[in-house]
Structure formats: C-alpha cells, structure tokens
C-alpha cells in the first residue's frame, strides 16, 4: 500500500507533463530556485554577514550579469536544441561539442587563409551536416547504437580538432564572424521586435481558439489561453527590458531565437516532426504506417550536426577565438546534453521540446555563473551540475507515464 498523497503527487506530475505548458514547469521552477538563491539569498546573506556593507549588492540579478548569462548560455543552447532533436528519437549525440570544435577550428583556419567569412560559415555548416549525417548513417543503416557511434565521434573529432589547431588556440578577428556576438540591435528595434513577437504569438493563440470554436472542437480554458499569452509576453518583454538596460539585444540572441523557432516549428508542426515523435515513441509503429525510420534518423543527426556547426560559429564569434578547451575538450558537451534533459526532454525518446532546451541552457548557465560569482571552485560547479542533472532525470523517469502503476 502506497500512501495516497504520494500516488497523487506522481499522478499529478505525470498529468502536468502531458499538457503543453506543464512541461515547462519543472525547468522554470529550477530556474526560479537558482535565481532566487544567487539573486536574493546570497546578497542578503552577505549583507547581514558584513556589518560594514552600505546596501545589498545584487550582482547576479544585475542587467550586466543577465546579459553575460544569456551570452554564456547561447552556445550551450544552440547545441542543446540540436541534441533535443536526436533525444526525441531516443538517440544520443555525444559528439556534438567535438563537432562544434572541429567546425569552429576550420572556420578560424579558413578565414585566416583569406576565404570570405560568409562563405567560410556556409562551408563549416555544410561540414556539420555531413559529419552528423555520416554518424546517422552508421546508426540507422549499419545499426550501431548511437551512443557508440557518437562516442567514437567524440574521440575522433577531439583528435581532428587538435590536428587543425596544433597550438590549441586560434584567434578569430574577422569582423563578419565577430559581428554575431558584437552587433547589438538599437533599443527601439529590440522593443519593436519583442512586441511584434508577443502580438504574433497572441494572434496565433487567439485565432486557433476561434477556429476551434468555429469547428466545434473542445476549447482551452480562457485562463489557459490568456495565461499562455501573459507568460510568453512577460518572458519576452522582461528579457528585452533587461538586455536593453545594460546594452541592447545582441544579434546572437535574436539569431538563436529565430533558429530555435524554426526547429521548434519543424518538430511540432510538420509531418516530418510528427514522424520524429512517432519514431521516438514507437519505431515499429512508425515503420508500419510507412514512415522511413532510417531516413528520419539520419536527418535528425544531420540537424544536430548543423546545430553543432552553428554553435561553433557562435562560440568563435563570442570568444573571438577558437580553443580546444572551449569546445571539444571542455564541459560544453555535458552542459548541452544536461540543458536538453533539464529542459524536460526525455532520454527515452518521444517527449520534449526545443524551447525547453533553451530554458535548460539558462539553468546550466545560471548555475555556472552564480557559482563563479560566489567564488566557488570548479569542483563545486561540477558537483552542483551533477546534482541538478540527476534531479532532472529523476523527474523525467518518475513522470514518464507507464512506468508507475496507475
């Protein structure tokens, strides 16, 4: 006999994860907890502990730090979006960060050789697609588990990156490449874009609702409808306000949002995306309705390869350099897989969303940033990240319907 409230808690968790916005709740809670801890609790603690302090210093929640936080999380988020796509299939990509490193290194070398930067970016993106698709072919057609294929990829591409960058470091000064992270939207344009996004979102939600009622379909409750709009609006406008009050909305963030919106749309609103979810849920069912499961697998790995290449470009742009430790040899891989999983994407396939990966990246980024600010060492960072990741996977396992008795 299980205590009744425990059963209903798990049940409620499962029910919540089934709804469209419910999937955001755990990651938002994690984010809120981290922000409250580093943003409010730590300053308060320091203020009380230090009799000489004049006033509380909100370093973590300062616009300047939030700006840095977004920029730090952007590369993680880019990779996490791609990794989410393969996780939806129930596969994994351990080579994403190494692929990003190879692509970034190649980009650096190409621009150094005088290849025009936009062209070099395209070459590097094509390389990412080829690397991803090649691994996908080994998974789908040869039948090697993706864990093994991409583990081999991880090792191999780490080596390749060291071959391309014998010194382990290369400065990238090209203005085009640097522009992604350096160009800022004028404040007014940032506001205009933000408001447009919110209006468009509201319009699609309300139009869908009116179409539903016109066709006699069940309606979302007005609270849910307006709640969605209010939530989205608050998120976007608060972000714009914060970024504007330090500098402005960076181009990098806008690009990241556009790419995520595109991948998000493809995965949720097209036959292709539906095929990804069905392969992740039950590959045999997908095969029997005529979905080409192997092609879907290869294409998903191509997408993660492309996202890794874009992440490499973004990283080179932000750091102004390509280094072995920032990509292939560092913590980027585990941070991006962690971001996707913390966002609520299931490691078992068939459940998740790229938007959650963005929030997951913010969780990981916030944790690292907050611990840095409070002077914690690398060891603390690793242990905290591990704990958060474990918590996220535990939530996933518990809320996965069908694993607990109903």
């Amino acid at each position: 006999m299980q205590p009744e409230n425990k059963v209903s808690l798990v049940g409620r968790l499962q029910a919540m994860r089934e709804t469209r916005f419910g999937a955001f709740v755990p990651v938002l809670l994690a984010l809120a907890a981290i922000w409250i801890y580093f943003g409010l609790a730590v300053p308060l603690w320091e203020y009380w502990g230090d009799p000489d302090a004049q006033s509380m210093r909100f370093i973590f929640l300062s616009p300047r730090n939030i700006y840095n936080l977004f920029m730090q999380s952007a590369v993680i988020a880019t990779l996490a979006v791609g990794i989410t796509v393969v996780l939806l299939l129930g596969e994994i990509d351990l080579s994403a960060a190494a692929t990003a490193g190879v692509c970034a290194a190649l980009l650096g070398v190409l621009v150094l050789m005088g290849v025009p930067a936009p062209f070099a970016c395209l070459i590097v993106m094509a390389l990412g697609i080829v690397i991803g698709a090649a691994q996908g072919i080994l998974v789908a057609y040869v039948g090697i588990p993706s864990f093994v294929v991409t583990l081999a990829g991880l090792l191999g591409f780490q080596g390749v990156m060291q071959k391309i960058l014998p010194t382990g470091n290369l400065n990238v000064g090209d203005p085009f490449v640097r522009a992604f992270a350096r160009v800022l939207l004028p404040d007014a344009l940032g506001w205009a874009l933000g408001i447009l996004c919110v209006l468009y979102f509201a319009w699609t939600v309300l139009r869908k609702q009116s179409q539903r009622s016109a066709r006699g379909l069940e309606l979302d409750s007005p609270a849910a409808t307006w709640g969605q709009i209010a939530f989205f609006g608050a998120l976007v406008l608060a972000t714009v306000a914060t970024l504007n009050s330090y500098r402005s909305v960076p181009m990098l963030i806008v690009l990241l949002m556009v790419i995520t919106a595109l991948v998000g749309w493809v995965t949720t609103s097209t036959p292709y995306g539906r095929a990804i979810f069905s392969v992740g849920g039950n590959p045999e069912s997908a095969r029997r309705v005529g979905i080409d499961v192997k092609r879907i697998r290869v294409s998903a790995f191509a997408i993660v390869g492309l996202m890794a290449a874009i992440g490499g470009i973004f990283g080179a742009s932000r750091f102004g350099s390509v280094s072995y430790t920032a990509f292939a040899g560092g913590s980027l891989l585990l941070e991006s897989i962690g971001a996707a999983v913390i966002g609520g994407t299931s490691l078992f396939g068939g459940r998740g969303s790229v938007w959650n990966a963005i929030l997951g990246a913010l969780v990981i980024g916030s944790l690292g940033n907050g611990l840095d600010l409070s002077g914690a060492g690398a060891a603390d960072k690793l242990m905290f990240s591990g704990a958060i990741l474990l918590l996220a996977v535990a939530i996933d396992a518990v809320s996965r319907s069908g694993t607990t008795e109903r």
């Binding site: 089934e18 179409q211 066709r215 036959p271 292709y272 539906r274 095929a275 979810f277 069905s278 005529g290």
Partner: protein, 271 residues
Amino acid sequence: MSQTKQSMGPTAPSPHLRVSDIHKRFGGVHALKGVNFEVARGEVMALVGDNGAGKSTLMKVLAGAHTADEGQFFIDEEAVSVNSPHDASDLGIQIVYQDLALCENLDVAANLCLGAEPIKPGFSFLPRFLRPLDDLEMEVRAQEAIDRLQVKTLKSVRAKVGGLSGGQRQAIAIARAVGADGSVVMLDEPTAALGVAQTRQVLDVVKRLRDTNHAVVYISHNMRDIFEVADRICVLRHGANVATWNKNDVTPDQIVSAMTRGLDKEAQNAA
C-alpha cells in the same frame, strides 16, 4: 494443396484480394510455407489457427509491414506488388495490428492520422514533409472516427494514448483502420482486450464493413464470434493452409480439430 484449391473454388465469390504461395522466413523459422489466401468484397473471411500458426505474419505481409520472401499478390486478379506499408495502403489495404502499433507519446488524433496527416492548403512551395500540419482537421477527423465507433469512454481526442485503457487503445487502432477509406480491412484479434459490450460493437463494425462492400479479414480465437460474423473460415496450421470452408459447411468442432490436428490426422483418426 488441392484440398485448399477445391474448397476455395466453385462456391467462392471472385476474390478482391488474393495471394498465392506466400513464403516468409525469420532466420531459421519458416513462418509461412506457401500460404494461399483470398477475400472478396462484401464478405468476412475469418482466419484462424493456433498460437504461432502464422496468422499475424500473413496479415503483416498483406499490409506491407513484412515483405514476403516469395509469393504473388493480386487485386481483382491483377498482379500487384506489396513491398512497403505505402504500397498496401495505396491498394486500399488497412489493418488493425494485434499489438495495435500505436505511439503512446502522441495523442489520439495524432495516432489516428499517423503517416497520413492532413496538411494546411497553400504551402505547395514547401516539400510535403515540411508543410504545416492541419491539426484542427486532424482532431475533427479523429472525432468523427471515434464517434462512428461509438467509443463513449474516450473523453478527448487530445488525450495521450499512453494514458488510455487497453480497450480504448484497441478502439483507436480499429478507428484508424476503419476511418481510412480502404477496400480491404484486416483485424488481427481486435476484441482481445474488449468487454462484452465493446466486442459487440466491433462485431457490428465488421458487419457494417461487409455491408458497405468492404473485403474484411477477421482473426480471432473466439469461435462464437467467428461463427457470428464470418462468411468463410480459413484455417492455418504451422504456417500452411489446412482448409477454407463456407461457414455453413462446417462446425466449430471441425474448425478446432483442423486448427490443432490438421485434416490428415483427423482422417487417420477416423480410419
């Protein structure tokens, strides 16, 4: 062989779907050893046999989920080839799989339209797999299919299949096969998880399909259901035909004996 031919011969209506000499091997297992099978429009052909006789394998071959190692397919006596699920559905062959083949992580509407999702008009500049889904149309169609089957316990077509009961899932799998407009509907033990009332509904659906000139294949271990809906009964044993009878020419005992012992044994016993 001649036994089969003969019993399918003179009294049989001209078949809509016919396959002959189907072989299917899984590694060392020879699951289908030259099976002949046919079904006409406006009839219910029951397919019976012991566990492991090869019924589901034959259905999967007909539905394109397995490709036959050998064998010929005919639609209205015209040779066709079925090498993929697409081939089968293009030929109007629909199936309810024994394991249902649903995706638990998707909702009812998505499962009902899986692989044949309606698309919003006006995006022909995009490749088909990247055109926007018409999810409202999907829900409308799903609701219609569910209503037609009179599944009253299903609250919403937006419910995830993972949260549904076995009977509700079976109803969805049936709705998917019946809802798509095919000429052949094959149901592999569709009432295994159903209560008395729902079983009755499925039998009514089967009869309705026959009355609307569909060719229906019905697999079940329940003799009473079979004798209620079937026009002809085809018996498989160890991956080969035993016989095909008109329902009126045979008794349930004879069927059971043919399923378990085949005809030769029976003849020996009688001798």
